[in-house]
Symmetry: C2
Subunit: 508 residues, 2 copies
């Protein structure tokens, strides 16, 4: 049996303490290759922790490749040989499948939540380094992948990989089939006025913003919503643009705030402000369009990031759809509606910018593999995309409603307020009680709960800021939402349980 | 019958005149929907041109969708309805498959040679606009796609599209499996010293250069070979860098030329200078490395663009492989070795830059879809890549040898010189005779021959420049190489035919 000294008062969750102890034993050689670990059940009994705590620790060790599960036999220590980086002899590509990861790989700081997803333990592929799993990750960037029509995508994929044309260079603006499908979709569902000739296909938002930076000869000053999309801010800065942070008023940007600035471009998320979640009202939209039309060279970047998922009221047409002066650059991606791994987005450029794009960037190849563009084009034109969106809208609405219901159940209204709950894949939970945000974050982490504070999206924090977190629900089951929220209420905010415990939180 | 007035003295090739006449007839409505065109044989007899000329014109009309071929029945005029852009009603994606291209689509200026490849005339997908085909396109950027192992790629693809993990966000630097495969390949075949942790996967050279521009806080002055890679030059300029053009000496860059400049970075193609084709000798390589190590923050970008295909002598190890001071940024792509449509490249960063990359760009997602990365990783690690390279090396060597042999046959040595003929997918043909380059280009175009002049790769033309063209051979059959070169010799350079005509050039 493993004599692990657990410290219940530690900052570290129990399962992390177990995971780290066993990892150290393996790395030091004290637990040898092929040695069998105690069963999760017996170790849990021995350590007086819940079975789930040991399971989580073991899963993490498996995910990182320290330990191998053998069906019906238990967990065994893996050969460490495989973790040492060995240069391979020349012209010997075949035998170098494993062994490409260093033993003491430094922890990668990476905010991407998907890094923590379960990893295959396929013998053929090297094991990616992963930081320990969170028990409950309320990730606002996650999507539900359980309901994606994989078999349809695969069958379209088989077909496209059969076309040898797809292996030749395609059009630099993107496949005509895809641009045409996007134009039809945007017109039909978002009211966007465009033809396929106005559309540039790119690799997600970051790549499209980089292309915009290339497009502008004189790097413009760009007004951005504060709070807002921090990655976009960083990228535009790196591309040579100066950012002017515009504090939001009542949840959206007021063009009056632009008047005294030298902003040439204004970057907004009018359909669903990121991260606050508000809709920009029509009078502000008109004011913003007026601002743009007042001076030559002014443009609005409309980032229509998760317009697909709206649960109450009518769909809100894009800002671009009421722009009569050709001042809106409309940007969208398929990251939420299809898959973030597809890395495909698009922008609709006003005619003058499109002309400039052809001139300055026309010789730069579209970064999306041609077959993927054609798979996506067929996914859209053959109706699967619409069907998938309709289905996901229902699924997300149910998850959203359940989430809101559970928040109402566990968090009393006198100290907690929900907002941003009409659309998108997360809600905001505002807290006006006495616990400081740092303490909230520390406690959450200790309990294996991953929270994102609204604070992180501000360039300069407003004076009336209260602790607020973004609670994503897209990839959580109802059971996990409930358990996670109960844990958050009980262990982090120290709230009494609203009803007899039914959430099985014995491990904590 | 169509009374087409052909002008043999026109700038335009015969087949273009026929194509344009019929297109105009269709657009004006004089040739109505469903009307049958005369058979190619009868129209050729009527117009007194070769059958091939009419065939080429008809093919172009089919490719652009004006005309539809019906097996055993002939060619029929297509409905123009399909070419008119119609906005679609809301939420009605299904019925919008065709009809997304405008009738009067402005001609797209696009240098990509693949634009001219045959396009599918699938009813479901909109027809891309294409400029008229060239009869002979000696495209230096082309690759041979006839011998790609499509069935293997497809079967790997089917497998990867089955993994739902591939639809979740992957690692931002690129899939560990792919970075590991690239590290092994580069070490084995190019001597490059790297681990998977030094590798960043990106979407082709242009995207990687854009990322480098983001990486450098103070935009550096970059020394570039002149002549050199013009697109890279443009991109780096757009990214805020200043370019210093360094005239080559004896075909390669001499680091002595950098001494009086403020260059921080030097961009070179040492294995196969693009476009001249020379190898940078070892003493110049050492001098260049010394230059870089002399001052903090100096780096060399090694663009190892077509190192895979070398026909004489031993393979030349990468400059990076002899760099002891960590000054070389090594960049490569799979565009030539696998497919330009894959849009996948990589860079190997020195440790200091890698650290900076993680810090500054670590939150930017890898632009290559996750499944494509894993298909490629398995293509490499399972040995298919090496097999494919070995096979293509033989095929290209045969094409190359045939090309050189035919050039020697048609172009006399007193006026023509071949160079750059040890590697890569094109050779250079230098001309010292009296015809000015403009005249050569005009005559070539009129005869349907697409040439790329070396002139276009110079920032400032050297005084001893003579008309020179890059003759690519990768996607040409032996028959086309011979016919094209014969036509070039006879019609453009007005050389006598070296032997009785056997190339069937009656149409010209």
């Amino acid at each position: 049996m493993l004599a692990i000294l657990l410290d219940p008062a530690s900052e570290k969750a129990m399962y992390i303490q177990i995971y780290e102890y066993i990892k150290e034993e393996i790395l030091s050689g004290r637990l040898a290759y092929h040695e069998k670990l105690p069963s999760a059940r017996s170790l849990a009994a021995f350590l007086q922790v819940s079975r789930a705590t040991v399971d989580t620790a073991y899963e993490q060790l498996v995910a990182e490749g320290y330990v191998e599960p053998k069906p019906k036999r238990g967990y065994f220590v893996n050969s460490l040989e495989e973790f040492t980086w060995k240069p391979t002899p020349k012209n010997n590509l075949r035998n170098t499948l494993s062994g490409s990861h260093q033993k003491d790989h430094p922890a990668q700081k990476n905010d991407s939540p998907f890094e923590h997803s379960k990893t295959k333990t396929d013998e053929r592929s090297p094991r990616p380094y992963t930081t320990p799993h969170w028990l409950y990750d309320f990730n606002p960037d996650a999507i539900d992948t359980a309901h994606f029509p994989y078999s349809i995508w695969k069958s379209l994929g088989k077909n496209e990989l059969d076309q040898s044309d797809n292996f030749l260079m395609g059009e630099n603006l993107g496949e005509p089939s895809l641009r045409s499908a996007i134009a039809d979709y945007l017109h039909g569902s978002r009211g966007v006025l465009c033809s396929p000739d106005n559309i540039v296909v790119g690799a997600g938002l970051s790549h499209l913003l980089q292309m915009l930076c290339v497009l502008f000869d004189e790097k413009p000053s760009i007004a951005m919503e504060d709070p807002g999309y921090i990655s976009a801010r960083k990228l535009l800065t790196a591309g040579g643009c100066r950012i002017i942070d515009i504090p939001l008023k009542g949840g959206s940007l007021d063009a009056a705030s632009l008047e005294d600035t030298d902003a040439k471009i204004c970057y907004v998320t009018p359909t669903h402000q990121f991260p606050l979640g508000a809709v920009m009202p029509i009078n502000r939209r008109q004011k913003l369009l007026q601002w743009a039309s007042k001076e030559k060279g002014r443009y609005i970047i409309e980032d229509d990031h998760d317009s697909e998922f709206r649960y109450t009221g009518r769909p809100i047409p894009a800002l671009q759809s009421i722009d009569k002066e050709n001042r809106v650059i409309y940007i969208g991606t398929f990251s939420r509606a299809v898959s973030p791994a597809l890395r495909t987005g698009y922008m609709v450029l006003p005619p003058a910018l499109m002309e400039k794009y052809r001139e300055k960037c026309g010789s730069i190849a579209c970064p999306v593999p041609r077959w993927d563009q054609n798979i996506l084009a067929r996914f859209i034109t053959e109706g699967y995309f619409e069907k998938h969106l309709n289905r996901m809208r229902k699924i997300y609405k149910n998850k959203h409603d359940f989430m809101v219901e559970q928040i109402r159940r566990y968090f009393p209204e006198d100290q907690f307020r929900i907002s941003g709950d009409n659309a998108g894949l997360y809600v905001l939970l505002h807290y006006t009680g006495p616990i400081p945000e740092e303490e909230i974050e520390k406690r959450a982490e200790k309990n294996g709960i991953r929270l994102r504070s609204l604070k992180g999206y501000y360039a300069s924090l407003s004076a009336d800021y209260h602790p607020t977190c973004l609670l994503g629900f897209a990839d959580l089951s109802e059971a996990d939402m409930e358990k996670g929220l109960a844990l958050l209420a009980h262990e982090v905010f120290l709230l009494p349980e609203p009803c007899p415990s039914e959430s099985g939180l014995s491990a904590h």
